[in-house]
């Protein structure tokens, strides 16, 4: 064994160790980014990072006192199957029951102008809920949908505190009845998942959009932000839209016009 022969081997080993350390560092520095890349490599039938699901909401078309989207969401995701626990007051129940989408009414103090809009998980590109989750239960799918894996959620509710949109709900009670498409149980956090079960089965609309369209308001448009030919992308190109709390630079997937 001569030194000359040994040296290259040693170098290779060092190089390998160096790379490994680098890779390990990358994982811990940017788990969200790596997760996206990893998901993109899974088989074709899963969520793809060539797609980013998003929404455009025209608050001009959102009608005062209409709750079509909220009702549709409650039915689609089995929220209406939950019952007020015995002995719980209405105030507490209304504060604690899950709410994936809710109507928000804004009033301009000076002019008195009233604006309505539905508010739900904004499906951020850089979601604060994912940043703070201690177990990795809060995650972003390859196609941009931010959701909770209830199998790993421990119910700490950090994500609820981190979310600037108040989009998440915690289940405080035992749940007797669920739908097959939307499991739900005590002790987990949940929020809008852009009707992920529909998306995965090839649907191109969410329950809230369907309900809004059915009532003739057409305030909600769901689609692929990365596809320049999608209706959503075209609408975004045409009209000026806003992200809510754009100052946080979360690059939300849900955008609003006429706001």
């Amino acid at each position: 064994m001569t030194g000359k022969k040994e040296q290259p081997q040693d170098m290779k080993r060092r190089e390998f160790i160096g790379k490994t350390v680098l890779a390990a560092g990358a994982v811990s520095v940017a788990p969200g980014i790596l997760l996206t890349v990893a998901n993109a490599k899974t088989e074709g039938e899963g969520a793809s990072s060539n797609i980013r699901w998003g929404m455009l909401i025209d608050s001009n078309k959102c009608v005062d006192n209409c709750t079509a989207c909220v009702d549709a969401c409650n039915q689609e995701n089995g929220i209406d199957l939950m019952q007020q626990p015995k002995g719980q007051g209405d105030e507490m129940w209304n504060a604690q029951r899950p709410q994936w989408i809710r109507k928000v009414k804004l009033r301009d103090r000076q002019t008195g102008e009233v604006t309505n809009l539905p508010m739900m998980c904004q499906h951020c590109e850089f979601p604060p809920c994912v940043d703070v989750c201690p177990t990795g239960a809060s995650f972003k799918r390859a196609d941009g949908i931010v959701m909770v894996d209830r199998h790993t959620c421990i119910g700490c509710r950090y994500c609820m505190m981190a979310c600037p949109y108040k989009a998440r709900s915690f289940i405080h009670q035992n749940v007797q009845e669920q739908t097959v498409r939307a499991p739900r149980g005590k002790g987990c956090v949940e929020s809008c998942n852009l009707c992920v079960h529909r998306v995965d089965s090839g649907a191109s609309t969410t329950a809230c959009q369907d309900a809004c369209d059915k009532d003739g308001h057409k305030a909600i448009l769901f689609g692929d932000l990365k596809d320049p030919e999608s209706q959503l992308s075209k609408a975004l190109k045409e009209k000026s839209s806003r992200q809510i709390r754009a100052d946080l630079e979360l690059n939300t997937g849900v955008r609003y016009t006429s706001l």
Partner: protein
């Protein structure tokens, strides 16, 4: 150290064989509830013995694919279990699979293994009452079609108690 693990392993094997014998004696044909879709089928998505031993691992593996990667057409899904094993109640609905004497609780109670799936998951197959019924109905039909194909593919091998014990022992060693 070595000998003790050897003894433990041997004890485990004997225990596994004993359990297998017990389970074949106690549940062999009666485990599947008569009024369920599964009752009319040859075998589960895999040979019965394999499913009995490994169903929890199969489900855990596939749930990650479904939830995180969005791959919905997996072979092993809890919704699939429920769709097949729930017993009809004769009133157009189904008995919950975790109710007393029903498919899941039958074994789980006997073995004193707590069953937490249904704290969150639906205990009954999809019942068409919502706006999305047509959509999810189609989805279900597709899935059950695939399941049926899988089932037709391999017939349930008639296992003797001895073979069953052997199979269990092998999976234990892995």
């Amino acid at each position: 150290m070595h000998s003790s693990t050897g003894i433990l392993r041997a004890a485990g094997l004997i225990l596994a064989a004993g359990m297998a014998l017990l389970s074949t004696a106690a549940v062999s044909d009666s485990a599947v509830t008569p009024g369920s879709r599964a009752a009319g089928m040859e075998s589960c998505v895999a040979p019965t013995a394999e499913i009995r031993r490994n169903h929890m691992d199969y489900l855990k593996h596939d749930r990650i694919k479904v939830v995180h990667d969005g791959v919905r057409d997996v072979k092993n899904s809890l919704a699939g279990c429920v769709a097949c094993h729930a017993e009809k109640d004769g009133k157009g609905g189904y008995h919950p699979v975790n109710a007393d004497g029903q498919f899941c609780s039958g074994c789980h109670e006997y073995l004193a293994v707590s069953l937490t799936c249904f704290q969150c998951h639906s205990k009954q197959p999809e019942q068409k009452h919502s706006a999305a019924a047509s959509l999810s109905g189609e989805e279900n039909a597709g899935q059950s079609g695939a399941l049926r194909l899988l089932m037709e593919f391999d017939e349930a091998p008639p296992l003797s108690a001895e073979e069953m014990a052997q199979l269990h022992a092998v999976s234990r060693e892995e």
